[in-house]
């Protein structure tokens, strides 16, 4: 393996690792670790219902 090929291999591995890290961060962007577990922060497209609960 030539020196250039070795450099390309290292750059490729680093690229995959970085890409994986970014993807994992993106997929868990709404998930936060809290003590004892996780919280997923949700958003809704529609405004919330404000209808009072009934018996």
């Amino acid at each position: 393996m030539t020196k250039a090929q070795k450099i390309l291999l290292v750059v490729g591995i680093l690229g995959i690792a970085f890409g994986g890290f970014v993807l994992a961060k993106y997929l868990t962007r709404n998930v936060r670790k809290i003590r004892g577990g996780t919280v997923t922060l949700q958003t809704y497209d529609a405004p919330p219902s404000e209808e009072p609960l009934s018996e």
């Binding site: 004892g36 997923t40 809704y44 919330p48 219902s49 404000e50 009072p52 609960l53």
Partner: protein
């Protein structure tokens, strides 16, 4: 990895906000007031919340949410249901939690928790799950709940852990079941919340007490206490 069951919560868990007449959790004044309640709870009792939250592996946000919903951060005297103080615990629930801890949770209380509870309520050394608490025992618990905010928070947090373990399914615990049971009682709710049940299903199911459904919305709804906390 902790020694207890992991919690996975979604906030807000329903696209609905608590409303009762003109009082709406989405109104700017109520949002401001509820944020102020949480800030005040954290400022006044944050040390106790953190200490016992670490002990029972429950995040400060959840304990603050319960205190804010239950008492608004006020050390209230016993009400008509005997619910007392910041976390509105009753003597019967305290006795249940301590006398049946190992049965429900599966491991004994730590030495730290045991010695703290024994110091605050000495009769707890002799609790027997098969013998109901006497009036004297209940009086001792009620007094401690009212006089000592740290005890109230410690036992309230222990109750949350107790319920989380009681309602675990597999490796995770369901907070919505815990909330309904904290409000309406474990024995009244345990058969009603069996299996997979979403927060939306509980809120729309009129066989659950109205107060408990509202309780869920106050905690897990849009602009509920947990939503406001995590939006910060």
């Amino acid at each position: 990895m902790g020694k207890y069951t992991t919690l996975a919560i979604k906030v807000p868990d329903v696209n609905r906000s608590f409303a009762q007449g003109n009082y709406k959790y989405s109104s700017p004044e109520v949002i401001k007031g509820n944020k102020a309640i949480m800030d005040s709870v954290y400022k006044n009792f944050g040390t106790f919340i953190n200490t016992w939250g670490i002990e029972f592996e429950i995040d400060d946000s959840i304990i603050i949410g319960f205190i804010s919903t239950e008492s608004g951060g006020k050390n209230a005297p016993p009400n008509q249901f005997d619910a007392t103080g910041l976390m509105q615990m009753t003597p019967n629930t305290v006795w249940e939690v301590l006398s049946k801890w190992k049965t429900i949770v599966g491991s004994p209380l730590s030495n730290k928790a045991t010695s703290f509870f024994n110091k605050e309520i000495p009769s707890s050394k002799n609790y027997n799950p098969n013998v109901l608490p006497t009036t004297a025992v209940k009086n001792e618990i009620r007094l401690a709940l009212q006089k000592n905010p740290e005890f109230n928070i410690a036992i309230g947090t222990a109750n949350l852990r107790w319920l989380l373990e009681a309602f675990k399914s597999g490796n995770t615990a369901d907070i919505n079941k815990v909330m309904v049971s904290y409000n309406a009682g474990y024995y009244a709710m345990r058969n009603k919340v069996k299996g997979n049940i979403t927060t939306e299903q509980i809120i729309n199911n009129k066989s659950f007490p109205l107060e408990s459904r509202g309780y869920l919305l106050k905690m897990l709804g849009v602009n509920g206490f947990l939503d406001l906390w995590f939006k910060k």
